[in-house]
Amino acid sequence: MDIIQELSEQLQQGNPKKAAELTQQAINENIDTKTILDQGLIAGMSVVGEKFKQHEIFLPDVLLAAKAMYAGMDLLKPLMLKEGIPTIGKVVIGTVQGDLHDIGKNLVAIMLKGAGFEVIDLGNDVSPEKFLDTAEKENADIIGMSALLTTTMPVMKKVIDLAKERQIFGKKKFIVGGAPLSTEYAKEIGADAYCFDGMSAVEAVKRFTSISS
């Protein structure tokens, strides 16, 4: 089995130590950084994502694989920066102001990173200004907001209204998620997509980044 394929396999097995070793070995063997990323790490995570979708594996398996992915990514990141390899898309994500529920948002961020996107995670209790300032500063394509309470959902609208005020609405895509949300609510506040879970967030971001590129 070639080294890239083995890297993908070890990632799928959720073996971070092996994934890091194989990534380093591939770097040492002068394998192209983008090949290691696309055909090793991202390819491995896509298999994991697909199996998860088909209920062949479950959340803990996905999260173990994600840890392995990050172990490899940590080694590739400096090379990607040095070589100027662009990420497939940048997402600023956070739980809205007033809300501390971050497990769901964390899982979504993990899935997005696993799919190869650059994710800037602002944590929880994030103000509308912080969402937009960061997205502008980092030139992010997507702003992702999470809320788990009906009382914090309106902050999502505030973010979108502020984006309109700052005339960046339409230039960036807004995705929203969290238990009390719905497609209707997302539409009502002007968000571009409501995402039921991490996989649907990945699908939406893929859709939007291919549109924007």
Partner: protein, 236 residues
């Protein structure tokens, strides 16, 4: 009656199967050994870090009527409203498993230990529910001891944010209960800190008062319809 209850951590340790279910692994699926190991590790961390504690305070129907009205955001008709009006005894409660577990969950995520972090989150959520159940059990024993609860009786708890009782109802509930005494604080957005906390009312009365149809305006958007199970359990 007002009582702060120190709940033994061992009494709120969830079963591995229950945690796995929370992680999206259905009961009929045999989880792999690694997943079970992670679940067991999460339980072990939880038992070292958690300090379940609850507070309970009895109140009259008139007092609860005021608490329940909250900020005036409730649905016009709701089961809680109908049930408390027909009840015999009422007590507000709040429980938490304290902050340390929440801090550890964040730390595990920060260290990229996602599987263990997520599993510990599931253990902590389930344990908080069990702590709420322990508080309800405490109140039942108390009522039994003073001769206000017998076999014809039923007891159930309800929380703001469920069944037409708006989550903003937490403000009045907190004003009355003073859950700060056990380290729970309420934010502007009506979220409690620590995150793993539950508040609500425990209602005691005849079993029949807890029976209702899930045909309220908000029942359509309810994901669980857990009320069906709860009221059925009372009759069994």
């Amino acid at each position: 009656m007002r009582k702060i209850i120190n709940i033994p951590v061992n009494s709120v340790i969830p079963k591995v199967n229950t945690i796995l279910e929370r992680q999206g692994i259905p009961n009929h699926i045999n989880a792999n050994d690694r997943t079970i190991e992670i679940a067991e590790e999460a339980i072990s961390i939880f038992s070292k870090l958690a300090f379940p504690i609850g507070v309970i305070q009895e109140l009259s129907k008139e007092e609860f009527d005021n608490v329940f009205r909250g900020e005036g955001n409730n649905e016009i008709d709701s089961p809680v409203r109908n049930i408390f009006k027909a009840s015999d005894d009422l007590a507000l409660f709040a429980v938490t498993i304290e902050e340390e577990v929440c801090v550890e969950i964040s730390r595990l995520f920060f260290m990229n230990d996602f599987a263990l972090g997520s599993m510990l989150d599931a253990v902590a959520s389930e344990a908080t529910e069990m702590a709420a159940q322990a508080t309800e059990n405490y109140y039942r024993s108390h009522l039994q001891k003073i001769g206000r609860f017998n076999n014809a009786g039923g007891i159930l708890r309800f929380s703001p944010g469920y069944c037409g009782w708006h989550v903003s109802g937490q403000r009045k509930l907190f004003q009355y209960l003073h859950a700060e005494d056990i380290g729970i604080n309420l934010r502007e957005s009506f979220l409690m800190e620590p995150l793993k906390s539950i508040s609500g009312v425990i209602i005691s009365g005849k079993k029949e008062i807890f029976q209702f149809e899930d045909t309220f305006s908000f029942c359509g958007s309810c994901a669980t319809h857990i009320c069906r199970e709860r009221s059925k359990l009372l009759l069994d």
